[in-house]
């Protein structure tokens, strides 16, 4: 693994003697994800507080939002986490072909998720479910659209960034950059991707189901 490379260039010291025994990129990604937790908590926490304060301004589950369609989308995203793990497992064994296949699969599923979300947005806004006060005519009140689009929008943006990262990995994989000994980028992109997946499961539960 690249694990100890960062420490090894410092006078030949083995990484196990200093630090966490985790290579810098991976530690950095975990630290970054901690801040992402706080970011999504600020959005989700605001939603919970606003909804608790004004239950009448939010519609019942299924009244406005298309739950079956989004359930399908949730399933897609969970599948993409599985394919991501398979990509990582492939390169741990040094299997370049499977790495490329599973990475492409993950990126395509991620893009399908975004496609379904865009379709959902178009459908919803056609029914007067918009993020702004002006033009809102769906059940509930503008506050519902405000919180819905902000939370799902920022999640969608994170998926979008993840898809870009995945295509970058695909390009690098085709250049043969990753080996069984050196694939830190695949691992940390995987961490990010699983995090984004996890956020969606929470969002799906509290925005669509409850």
């Amino acid at each position: 693994m690249t694990t100890h490379a960062a420490a090894l260039d410092r006078g030949g010291m083995d990484a196990t003697e200093v630090g966490m025994g985790v290579y810098n990129m991976k530690l950095g990604m975990w630290v970054f994800l901690l801040s992402e937790v706080m970011f999504f908590t600020s959005l989700i926490g605001s939603y919970i507080i606003l909804r608790a304060a004004h239950p009448d301004m939010f519609a019942q589950p299924g009244e406005v939002l298309n739950v079956p369609l989004t359930a399908l989308n949730t399933f897609l995203l969970i599948c993409s986490s599985v394919t991501m793990v398979l990509a990582f497992a492939a390169i741990e064994r040094g299997d370049q072909a499977k790495l490329k296949a599973w990475l492409i699969g993950t990126a395509l599923i991620g893009m399908s998720f975004l496609g379904v979300q865009v379709f959902e947005y178009i459908q919803l806004s056609g029914h007067g479910f918009v993020p702004s006060v002006e033009g809102y005519s769906a059940a509930g009140a503008p506050l519902y659209g405000t919180t819905f689009y902000t939370m799902t929008g920022f999640h969608g943006f994170h998926v979008f960034v993840g898809v870009l990262a995945l295509w970058y990995l695909v390009i690098q994989a085709f250049r043969g950059k990753y080996t069984a000994a050196n694939h830190g980028a695949v691992e940390i992109t995987g961490l990010y991707w699983h995090f984004v997946d996890l956020v969606w499961i929470i969002l799906f539960t509290i925005v669509y189901l409850i």
Partner: protein, 591 residues
């Protein structure tokens, strides 16, 4: 972010080839250059913030007085200063921008941007940060954020005038302040600056955890690095909450969402909770690094080990942790349930305990020490004294019953300046004069340094101490013309006294600026270790350290504060000096 992180190969290749001027000084990946870039940027913003304060003080000394027009008022457009009279709209935006610029573009980058970047790798014995490219991106994100913030002064409607706390709905509805573009530029700039802080924090945390030299165990890390490490954790977790709130506020203004507009179901109080959930950890972001610098300077200036090293570290951690549980004390007067206010009061009082531990430890360090009152030491000792005053006035405003009376008065202004100026800024002056020889290879002029110190100390107190009295007399915190109230009008003499003291205080800073710039070129050449200190930046690297910092990775044998040790050859004992009595380095991570 993910793609950025994947780019970084190990940085061993950076050592051996010559870099072009642009790569070396402008788009530099060297943590020392990036720290110095932040230094110049934030000193510039310190000047801007000071000039805004001068404008406010002129208005308070001569409120809307045609006989005393603002000097140089003709330079401003008529929408800001008309016939030498500062207009209320401009006064409000000067108040807002003084706070914003000082906190986010001066003090915070001075403490963290400059010293976390400069000191962390040097003090832990690393060649650079864990992610040098990300570090460069951090500066080049903060700098445009600063430009965007400055641009707000030049747009129609003027700059944001909702106060640095940006309380909704005042900030959310442009109709209320008459500020459109300025308000949005404020928000965009702050969102961008948040990314810069975040990149910095990820870097500092990873570097401290993973890049320490052999033998640099957790409890051998010098206290500035400890403080900056804990500060980075606070930044990492607090800034995203602010970013979330800023984005919601920006959406409220631009795309018509309704998070904070009460007429359509939004909750203005939600802004206050989110802002202060960030804002109170932010207060500790602004003081903890200063505490770290001061610990280093006082130990070196007293030629004694820091009193209670472990207690110092644990106190930093305790302050940082309890700091998350106190944000409600900014909101006692917001209609909060008194029971809840009571619990916030208790948690706030508890923070006084670790703070007092630190103060007594500094005193214990100096007690019967061989005191050397060089310029950094003078600033550091002043930090302790001023922090005590600011801390005690903090206990006043933290008590719910007293706060009913003192809330939003000049007492709060006095309190926060005793902590931010008397605390943070004195620590910054101490730190700049202390590490200047390392940064630039030259000493700052000691006479000029002491003149600057004494003028600053005296006039700082003349400016801010009387503000306690103004506050108790009932003067409001952000008022444009206090003479409209009969009971405040008699204070005009005191206001003039404060204002003229403030002008001298600001003037005295030019002595520092002159000393800083003059010494860059004409200062006495600095030896490697002018203060006879123990930590690695002094004992293992020349002044200034070259690219890559250390010729050989240093090995650490002891803690950083072994001054006047009986077994040591001299009165200090470098961390990297193998000694006969020194124990073998222990592994940091016993597995």
């Amino acid at each position: 972010m993910a793609t950025t992180l994947t780019e970084h190969a190990p940085h061993a290749d950076a050592h051996h080839h010559e870099l072009s001027f642009v790569r070396k000084y402008i788009f530099s990946e060297d943590h020392k250059i990036i720290g110095i870039q932040f230094l110049f940027m934030s000193l510039f913003f310190l000047l801007v913030g000071g000039l805004l304060a001068a404008i406010m003080r002129w208005q308070l000394a001569y409120p809307t007085d045609p006989a005393n027009p603002l000097p140089g008022g003709g330079l401003f457009p008529e929408t800001m200063v008309n016939n030498g009279i500062i207009l209320p709209e401009f006064y409000n935006s000067a108040v807002t921008m003084h706070g914003t610029i000082m906190i986010f573009f001066a003090i915070m980058p001075l403490l963290v941007g400059v010293f976390a970047n400069y000191l962390i790798p040097l003090q832990i014995g690393a060649p650079d940060m864990a992610f040098p490219k990300l570090n460069m991106a951090s500066f080049w994100t903060a700098f445009p954020a600063g430009l965007i913030m400055l641009a707000g002064f030049f747009v129609e409607g003027g700059h944001s005038s909702a106060g640095w706390t940006q309380y909704a709905p005042l900030s959310a509805d442009p109709e209320w302040t008459g500020v459109y573009a300025g308000q949005q530029l404020w928000l965009i700039s702050m969102i961008i600056l948040g990314f810069a802080s975040l990149m910095g924090a990820v870097n500092y945390i990873t570097t401290v955890i993973n890049m320490r030299a052999p033998g640099m165990t957790w409890f051998r890390i010098p206290l500035p690095t400890w403080a900056l490490f804990i500060t980075a954790i606070l930044i990492l977790l607090a800034i995203p909450v602010l970013t979330g709130a800023l984005i919601m506020l920006l959406f409220d203004q631009t795309i018509g969402t309704t998070f904070f507009a009460s007429a359509t179901g939004g909750e203005p109080l939600l802004w206050q909770h989110m802002f202060w959930f960030f804002g109170h950890p932010e207060v500790y972001i602004l003081i903890l690094p200063g505490m770290g610098f001061v610990s280093e300077i006082i130990a070196a200036g007293s030629r004694k080990p820091i009193f209670g090293y472990a207690a110092m570290v644990l106190a930093i951690i305790a302050i940082a942790f309890i700091g998350w549980l106190v944000w409600g004390h900014h909101m006692f007067q917001s209609g909060m349930n008194p029971m809840l206010g009571m619990s916030f009061m208790v948690t706030t009082m508890i923070i006084a305990v670790p703070s007092a531990i630190k103060v007594f430890n500094w005193l214990g360090t100096m007690w019967r020490g061989d005191l050397h009152f060089h310029t950094p030491m003078l600033h550091a000792v002043t930090f302790v004294a001023m922090f005590v005053i600011g801390g005690l006035s903090g206990v006043f405003v933290a008590s719910t019953p007293v706060d009913i009376f003192l809330h939003d008065t000049y007492f709060v202004v006095a309190h926060l300046h005793y902590v931010l100026f008397g605390g943070s800024l004195f620590a910054i002056f101490g730190a700049i004069t202390f590490w200047y020889p390392k940064m630039f290879g030259r000493m700052m002029n000691s006479t000029l340094g002491k003149i600057h110190f004494w003028l600053t100390l005296i006039f700082f107190n003349l400016v801010f101490f009387p503000m306690h009295n103004l506050g108790i007399a009932g003067m409001m915190r952000r008022i444009y013309d206090f003479t409209q109230y009969e009971y405040l009008a008699p204070f005009q003499g005191l206001q003039m006294f404060i204002s003229w003291s403030a002008f001298v205080l600001i003037g005295a800073q030019f002595i520092f600026a002159f000393n800083f710039l003059y010494s860059l070129f004409r200062g006495e050449k600095a030896p490697q270790n002018p203060w006879h200190a123990n930590s690695l930046e002094w004992t293992a690297a020349p002044s200034p350290p070259p690219h890559g910092n250390f010729a050989h990775t240093p090995t650490v044998y002891r803690g950083p504060y072994e001054y006047s040790h009986p077994d040591a050859p001299g009165d200090y004992w470098p961390q990297n000096e193998p000694g006969p009595a020194a124990p073998a380095p222990e592994p940091v991570y016993a597995e």
